[in-house]
Amino acid sequence: MSAKIDPITRSVVQHRLSSVVAEMGEAMLRTSYSQILNSSRDFSAAICDTHGRLIAQADHIPVHVGALPWATLAVEKRFKDVRPGDVILLNDPYHGGSHLPDLTAFVPIFHGEQRLYWTIVRAHQSDIGGATYGGYNPTATEIWQEGLRIPPIKLYEAGHLRDDLLDMLALNVRNARDFRGDLAAMVGSARLGERRLARLFAEFGVATVAVAIESMLDAAEQQTRAVVSTWKDGVFYGEALLDDDGRGRNDIRIVAKVTKYGSDIEVDLSESDPQTTSFVNSSHANTQAAVAMAFAYLIDADIPKNSGALRPLRVVTKPGTIVHAEDGMPVTLCTSHPSNEIVEAVVKALAASCPDRAMAGWGRRFRIAIQGENPRTGRKFIWHMFQARPGGGASPCGDGWSSIGEWHTVGGIKFGSIEVDEVRFPLHFRHHEFRADSGGDGQFRGGLGVSLDLVIETEKPATANTAGDGARHGPCGLFGGKDGAPHYYRLVSPGRPPRVLRTKEVGIEILPGDCLEIRSSGGGGWGPPAKRSPEARTRDRVQGLVTDTQAVEREQ
């Protein structure tokens, strides 16, 4: 479909667009206020066109990749009167969003009268109102208990800030100062993108840029199809299980039926279990994004993540299932769960089609947040655990990474310094090392999770909340590899019997001197354990990564 363009101009425009989104992302990292953005980097910067096609995106959070086109379409549907200087916001998962904490800002890009593109910044807010701090509310039964819902709205109209609207938004979140600061950073970063695009238009002319973009999308499609066409054709099934919904419903199934023919792939998730009454449901856009994320992991890492690369992929869902919740259902956990399980089901299905590319399962997210009073300062504190990262899955290329993260973060979250945490919080990290025997056995072993013994040194009782999954089902092994060990968290309290923590709890009482024994999951193993080389086994033993040698021998 693309008109003729010389390949050099096309390459120049493509590289320039990636540097524009990279620069937007860099500005976000350096100027945002909240830790979830400037440390955990839970944001994305992108350019879409007015048809909702993703043109370029900075590599930040994989689970945002396929989600932004849906958000853009929702904005296009709502507003027919977009003007230069407008800034549009949205977060609602039933209006193109993924879950409420992810707020998205859009700046329209004009050339003269003509509106052509959007620069977009999506950022996870540290709080979005609702019943619990930070948006993760295991007790929510409907979305209104999860936070403030924002359909597409204009924050700026023709360059003028609607400050009454901003006041309303800021009033509904718990940390108005950070919220305002982060929002300013988002808008600033999207406008920086606008400025850079204007220069690109001036240099090449808007028509040439448009042709270059068409050609770029076609090229990414072509590259992807070249990869996919080497995979085996057929209909493949993959399944992954969520532990529970926190309300007594266990083993919730995600079922992926994948039809691969030629260079096309259809992922049909319709046979997945029905939706639940808790926050483990997924919104439609998030499910689309989770499947795109799985697909991105299987094709070549250097293919640009744009809509062209995703053209060979079609995703089918059925409203009312766990992967396509109906309007009003709670969904906050969805970017981690069931995203992790969706990815795993898709990768498992495609493992039969591209065995040399599929990797075993990566960890699940199991959050814990502690609130209490710091006896050294007399002030309240809230601490979120990012330590004890789970292990990554093994692949045909080798063992998995240890202490690296979940399917949806894959090494993108920095857990920071234990010394700094001990200075700032009444916490003692007695032990924080690899968790031996947690990686799934196999020709290539899964990465290890982490053992953390954390002593709480408050003088008054503190409370903890959890949100996550993966305490019953470990990341899957592949081709005979074993599953990684699931998460196992315990509260050990002198004078009280030790108690195993569930993944979806609120109001856990922690007494001074209590110890949280966190054992995070290892990654899945790849290939039959019998094929693991004796040298690798010896090294695992010498390094103390595997101690349970008898179990291995029994398997063989």
Binding site: E23, V227, D399
Partner: protein, 682 residues
């Protein structure tokens, strides 16, 4: 005649520069000898003496100071050929180095296996001891667990030990006691102690830096010891200094102690040279642009000062949190390989043909099309005259290689070559853009300083891409690093994490902390140097909720002021505003680390001799067919024949033995009174 000599050992060549007190400068080059760099250094000294018409012994006897940039530590790290190291650390925390804070760089590559840490887990020993965050002892150092670890270390044949305990930046007693036992019981083993190497909070940075130090330390100590020995035997009676990653110089014993501080010793000379160029030119804002065979180094001179790296960064995948010059390395250079992907998109790099086999035109068996091959096809490089004719290039091989890319793109040979040329320029421009904008600097207001073998071929196009209007090519462009070393001052840096008795900044505590650091730094420097010493102070600070500290210079502050705390806070707000466009006055500020540098100022020979203007016109030596949007017959000038006052317009090619400068139509080149090229970019 008294001499100062600068020596820069690079991957291929060892560059030497000698300057006498009158500012007379002589250059020499010898081939590097990677197995023992001191052999190439001695050969280079022979060549330098020959050019000075002296014997080596005569030359060395007259040499007061010899300043050396070494890549021994860098190579040990890159090639993973350092010492066999063990780690002693707090029990329960052996894996900090392998966890890497949970980060992984390529997000979409889920198949590449994890990197091997410098110390395998079986050589990381947990020692029973524990400090609280305030430095008090929670668990005393357990001698039995130390005894067991020492026995295991001895049995494993380890030659170097890193010691890093949690919170040792606050109280080094356990580490010191451990090191005492190690030195006593394992004589000859190199020991690196975290509270000595980097007494700062954040265990990943500290342990990683301490380990790198232990890993490269023995090799650096051995090499520098050998070199000093050889020089003394050859008649050298002056002082040997090593240039460190932060751009200052230090004696051999100090470089061997803090060996991790020498990993950027090589490029540091280039930055010192750039800073000196800024002084001589009276142009305070420069972007040094050093393009070589496999990579391009970019740094920043702003207001006449070289910027230091904010967070240390990674070298060879290892975190080294010592203060170092801020250098961004882009994987693009003359050897970068061009390829067309399955989608028909042209890419240049990051793969490089390196020195072996090298670009196709080198005729060493390389067949992949490289940037250098494109330059040959375009007529910018003269195949016959390369390296002064000592190493002619194979033009046919370059054409064949580029034809491959042309065929995949459906373009002509020259169109493909022009595409490769354009893309690599774009890549370098992108690197400069991110390097400058990330630091809040607008590159358009800067002058590009072009040096290194390949820079001249690309610099005008890179500048045009960035809307930079002016480029300088100094005479010493091909040996700028060695030349720059001669202009470096002595420098000793200390830092310490600040712990207030209460939150915020307490003036007396901060005054006291800086006082102690200053005392430590100046007394150490005094032992090497009897000239004037100046002191630089700075603080690493951030807003309460932030994670990135910024370095706030505290020079010219009134330390006796009763409002010292406010003044320091204001400096921080101002600096933050300057860097990131806003300040949050009224918000809580955290003062993390205090830093002090003692600087021993060495006298600079006058290298800025102004030359008389030429009375003759500049005349091209020949013309050549080259591609500037179309094939044109363009004039070729000999760099050596250009003199101050000469002006010429592009398109034109300026050639010297080791470098070529290409200017395009509309660009104007003038030779300034230093004899340097000053290019106005269209």
């Amino acid at each position: 005649m008294r001499l100062t000599i600068g020596i820069d050992v690079g991957g291929t060549f060892t560059d030497l520069v000698a300057v006498d007190q009158a500012g007379w400068t002589v250059f020499a080059k010898s081939l590097s000898t990677p197995a023992d760099q001191s052999i190439g250094v001695m050969a280079g000294l022979d060549e330098l003496a020959r050019r000075l018409k002296l014997t080596r012994a005569e030359m060395l006897a007259r040499t007061e100071r010899l300043i050396h940039g070494t890549t021994v530590a860098t190579n040990a790290l890159l090639e993973r050929k350092g010492a066999k190291v063990a780690l002693l650390t707090t029990q329960g925390h052996r894996d900090v180095i392998e966890m890497r804070e949970g980060l992984k760089s390529n997000r979409y590559d889920l198949r590449s296996p994890p990197p091997e840490p410098l110390i395998p887990r079986e050589l990381r020993f947990g020692i029973r001891e524990r400090l609280r965050p305030d430095g008090s002892v929670l668990t005393p150092l357990d001698n039995d667990s130390l005894t067991r670890a020492i026995a295991a270390i001895r049995a494993a044949g380890v030659t170097s030990v890193a010691v890093c305990y949690l919170h040792a930046y606050r109280n080094p007693a356990h580490e010191i006691a451990t090191v005492e036992r190690l030195t006593r019981e394992l004589p000859g083993v190199y020991v690196s102690r975290s509270s000595d190497v980097l007494p700062q909070i954040k265990e990943y940075e500290r342990v990683s830096t301490t380990i790198v130090n232990a890993y490269v330390g023995p090799a650096v100590r051995l090499y520098l010891g050998n070199l000093e020995q050889r020089l003394m035997e050859a008649g050298f009676k002056g002082s040997l200094f090593i240039i460190l990653s932060h751009g200052g110089i230090a004696p051999v014993e100090e470089a061997a102690r803090l060996a991790a501080g020498t990993v950027l010793s090589g490029p540091a000379g280039g930055i010192s040279g750039s800073r000196r160029c800024a002084e001589l030119l009276g142009v305070p804002d420069l972007i040094p642009f050093d393009m070589g065979g496999t990579s391009t180094d970019i740094s920043l001179i702003a207001g006449g000062r070289a910027s230091l790296s904010v967070d240390g960064g990674l070298v060879a995948d290892q975190r080294i949190a010592l203060r170092s010059l801020d250098i961004v390395s882009i994987a693009a250079g003359g050897g970068s390989i061009a390829r067309v992907d399955a989608g028909g998109i042209l890419h240049v790099g990051p793969e490089s043909a390196g020195a072996v086999p090298g670009p196709a035109c080198y005729g060493n068996g390389g067949t992949s099309p490289t940037v250098t091959d494109a330059n040959v096809v375009l007529g910018y490089l003269d195949a016959a005259a390369f390296m002064g004719g000592r190493r002619p290039l194979n033009r046919t091989a370059a054409e064949t290689a580029v034809d491959g890319v042309a065929a995949s793109l459906g373009l002509s040979r020259v169109e493909a070559a022009a595409g490769i040329y354009r893309l690599v320029n774009l890549k370098m421009a992108d690197g400069i853009r991110l390097m400058t904008l990330r630091r809040g600097v607008d590159p358009r207001k800067f002058t590009l300083l072009s040096f290194g073998g390949a820079a001249g071929l690309h610099v005008v196009e890179v500048a045009r891409e960035l809307e930079i209007k002016r480029i300088i090519v100094p005479t010493a462009a091909s040996v700028l690093s060695a030349w720059g070393m001669l202009t470096s001052d002595l420098r000793y840096e200390v830092s310490q994490t600040y712990f207030g008795a209460s939150p915020g900044i307490v003036a007396d505590e901060v005054r006291d902390l800086f006082g102690k650091l200053e005392q430590k730094a100046t007394s150490r420097l005094r032992a090497w140097f009897d000239g004037p010493i100046s002191v630089e102070r700075s603080a690493e600070m951030r807003y309460g909720a932030q994670v990135y500290e910024i370095d706030v210079p505290l020079d010219d502050i009134n330390w006796q002021s009763s409002s010292l705390a406010d003044e320091i806070e204001n400096r921080f707000h101002d600096r933050h505003e300057e860097l990131y466009t806003y300040a949050l006055r009224g918000q809580e500020i955290v003062f993390v680390n205090a830093r002090v540098a003692a600087v021993g100022v060495v006298p600079k020979s006058d290298q800025g001799r102004r030359l008389a203007f030429a009375e003759t016109a500049c005349v091209p030596v020949t013309t050549r067919r080259a591609f500037f949007g179309e094939w044109r017959e363009v004039p070729v000038y000999a760099l050596d024949a250009l003199a101050p006052g000469h002006v010429l317009d592009g398109p034109a090619i300026i050639e010297a033995e080791t470098t070529t400068v290409v200017i395009h139509s509309g660009d104007r080149l003038a030779v300034n009174d230093l004899g340097w090229l000053d290019i106005q970019v269209r």
